[in-house]
Symmetry: C3
Subunit: 398 residues, 3 copies
């Protein structure tokens, strides 16, 4: 799309609520705010494709605080910060003094003297990640009001125990482009299903986030998982709200096949049972390693009962014309490739490799758009200014 159309779209949304605020959960945000993020993500990509700089900071830090390993999200956050002119500083809890008893309140302030944005990934413990992010936000707000901090760094949730907004918004922007416009999402069936993986304890934030976000665009989101793999109860409320508000539909079914039936989009991936994750969190809190090990064994055995939950070629044939768009947040457990039995057949995965990579490619722009809207009061005018600027990103003279 042309940049001026994107700017016009953007200016039709009321996105003021994003300015100087944090981004925790998509369902905290209005539809206009969500749409504004998409418009800015596309506009930033257009700027970059046209070799225009998108720097809005001459100096400043983007702090990354990762409590779980990550390649994609780490690189996406770094890319987004760099695009806007912020330098990344990792808070590596190994290197820092946090490991020896520093409180969250203190650390939040100590890392923020020159921080413009803080990206946090904390998805391992149920009831902890989101709470931790809210705490950090509260403490930097306090620090700002008390005159400790000269600017209020805003937060971006790079995955918590509840939601994974940068992932699911990248997913949705990908669908918008694949389907030719947000209006084409309406009425489409998304099968969000559990799938077997030989590994253990994957977060629930993707299925929860997909249900919470995609029901907003009038989509028919169908959830399927084996018994015992329930997600958080409150997501149901979010989905119900979205059904009423946006005309979407949320359905639970008992089998992968039922979910895949006539689906336009399928998103099969593994996750851990919510109740088990709660138990694990309690065991960690008590430092009960034997209990954790026992739980892990139990869960692996439980997983292995459901090896038939796999996105096979036969399963794909059930989808609309056998041609549903296959999606995954990556990395996937690919049968015969990364494991002997996994989430998806190698032939299915390979057929969708390019769209899957494209799906991932939106994440840096979604993150950059969130930061842009947090930091720029009049984003349309700023995009216009950047577009009309003469500063190239890459000063090639070809």
């Amino acid at each position: 799309m042309k940049i001026n159309e994107l700017i016009k779209q953007l200016e039709s949304y009321d996105s003021k609520g994003l300015y100087q605020d944090d981004f925790f959960l998509t369902w905290d945000k209005t539809q206009d705010e969500i749409m504004a993020v998409f418009a800015v993500a596309d506009a930033l990509r257009t700027l970059r494709e046209n070799n225009k700089t998108a720097r809005i900071f001459d100096s400043g830090l983007g702090i990354s605080l990762f409590r779980d390993n990550s390649t994609r999200t780490r690189f996406s956050f770094t890319s987004a910060c760099n695009l806007l002119g912020l330098e990344i500083q990792d808070l590596d809890e190994g290197k820092s003094q946090i490991s020896h008893g520093e409180t969250v309140k203190e650390t939040s302030n100590m890392i923020s003297f020159m921080a413009d944005v803080i990206g946090i990934r904390d998805d391992m413990y149920i009831g902890k990640g989101h709470t931790y992010m809210k705490n950090v936000a509260e403490y930097v707000e306090e620090g700002y009001k008390d005159g400790v901090l000269e600017q209020r760094p805003t937060l971006v949730n790079l995955q918590c125990d509840i939601d994974h907004p940068t992932q699911t918004m990248a997913d949705t922007l990908h669908m918008i482009h694949e389907l030719g416009g947000v209006e084409n999402l309406k009425g489409k069936k998304v099968a969000m299903t559990w799938a077997y993986s030989p590994s253990y304890g994957k977060p629930l934030s993707v299925p929860q986030g997909v249900i919470g976000l995609m029901t907003r665009f009038g989509m028919d989101v169908t959830l399927a998982h084996p018994e015992g793999y329930e997600i958080m109860d409150e997501i149901e409320d979010v989905a119900k709200h979205n059904e009423e508000m946006y005309g979407g539909k949320f359905t639970r079914v008992e089998s992968m096949a039922e979910a895949f039936k006539d689906a336009d989009i399928v998103y099969p991936k593994s996750w851990a049972p919510f109740k088990a994750m709660e138990t694990r969190t309690d065991l960690y809190a008590k430092g009960d390693q034997a209990g954790i090990d026992a739980l892990e064994q139990e869960l692996l055995i439980q997983n292995a009962l459901h090896k038939d939950w796999a996105c096979t070629e036969d399963m794909m044939k059930l989808t609309r014309d056998g041609k549903a768009l296959y999606m995954h947040c990556l990395p996937a457990d690919i049968t015969g490739l990364s494991c002997s039995e996994g989430e998806v057949d190698a032939s299915v995965f390979d057929r969708y490799r390019i769209p899957l990579y494209k799906q991932a490619s939106y994440k840096p722009y979604i993150i950059a758009a969130m930061i842009f809207l947090q930091k720029i009061a009049n984003p349309g005018a700023k995009l216009e200014e950047l577009w009309n600027g003469t500063m190239p990103r890459w000063a090639d003279n070809a």
Copy 2:
């Protein structure tokens, strides 16, 4: 303070000696030089508060070399470098080949081809940290003269075995602002006291640095510690010199209560006994792990004899009007919070939380000011130029 007043102040000081030189110990520097660092720190903060860029480098590296864990100092150094336009590159001795036998001379040159500043923290071993920094400085000077390096990177001591200038200068700038001007420091009593901590082997650089710096402003610095917790002898000489030169006063007393009596400022913190630290350094050199473990046990037992050295509410009541400014370099060992018995009562700490965070907030600006004065021949003119510039740090169009 207004920027032009700060620039006027700065220009009244002779700060030429800082240009192209290193910053190791505050007592190497003249009073004018110290005051110039304060003025530039305040000016850089004013620039940032007014959303003016303070970049003086278009490219270049700031090298950080940390031989001890650190959150605050690491983030402060990164922030300072970023503010001035330098990108941080950590020399992580694990990642590098230093661990397998590379000499300091060689490494100093190899990391410096495009380095403008090197920040070093090396505070663990008595007689080693400062010496190491002097060596690095000598080697890069040599490399520069030999035509190996095109620029002479300057050094900033981010904490050594003797002094912690970026900390104590941030402390002092905090006092200047709390008391309403440097002239108000004169005659004020500072209680620099040992306090009990359940942890072991904290560096001596803070008490030594506080004595060495605060006696320069006509302050009455009173040191108290249990027997056996003596600091380096040579600090006494520095303090005596300062008494003569600047009219300060340095007193040793036997108890925390005596030190706190009518104090305007209290700075109670734990440190390791100098003699024990010397012994530990020798044991490390010999690789005598059993000896080190035995020493650690011995020191923890010795520490535990002095649990009454704590900054309690009762102790605070002894200070001037019961309202002394409580200071700490953070993180503090807080009784009932980060440990069962520690340096300070939770209620005392909490009452001073905001000033403590503000105290810490000066460190990035102190470091940036040191680098600025090392790199800019006419700092007043440059600040004026930055102030009059149109380049915002953060291009918000609110």
Copy 3:
């Protein structure tokens, strides 16, 4: 040399082949391309010496992917990227999810959404490093063509199992400067010899790279090593080709003394036997740790049979007028300094310390030149533009 002479030189070479391409092996490149890299390296150094900015990127990432420890190469790559305006992002395989089964194709794309250059060091396994780099290049090319990546990041080989182009080109540029021009390399004798080291398994890329590169300038490259320390066969073919093409000479001799006889340049360093490295690679692939340990012991014993292969003062006397230029890629194993018996006498090393450091100092500029030529279609015009620009690198107002 003056910048306009360098630009004139550069414009006399056909360097278009470097644009948008990778740099894997020097013998993939034409003589004009090699000479263009030298000219740009000198020009970038001249810009920096004259405090002119060399930024060609306003934002963008340089990805470093190191599969072996490194100080020099890491800092050189960071310096080069920073000089041109790219921020470094390390792909630390420990931190990332690569360690749990992610494929190379996927990772190559996932890290490249905003990557302009990727520097890889992978020198540990025979038959693996170069192949890995070619794979990454192929995958990002594919990603670019498929519309996944908006730009095609180019690769720089920071050391593989076959060649070490950034090292040997820095070495050669050093010789050019020491000997007063590339034309003075013609007919000079280079002794590339094995030398004893108490450590194990050093890569073969330096001797191989030296033979492959220096024979191109009409030099007489003489290789000597104990029996069993053969290098890759295919290097012989490269050398033969260079003899015919450029009038160089490649000779094998049986002893260090014979190689050193009348040499103008000596490059004595340790490496592992090619066949043993092949065996080790197989053992690693099989996960046969006992086999690896046994091999290591065997190789150390084998090494120790050749302690007389050392660059002693006596050996140096055999060289032309006893004054050959001693070269090393650093760090060297220095007898009596970093080990009891090693590659070189301390007195020899020390006499050449300054030239050795200068030799190393070219590496950041060689890397920057490679990137510059990969990214700028008309490099001469761009250098001219940078030279005529008013933006200082370091805004000192001395």
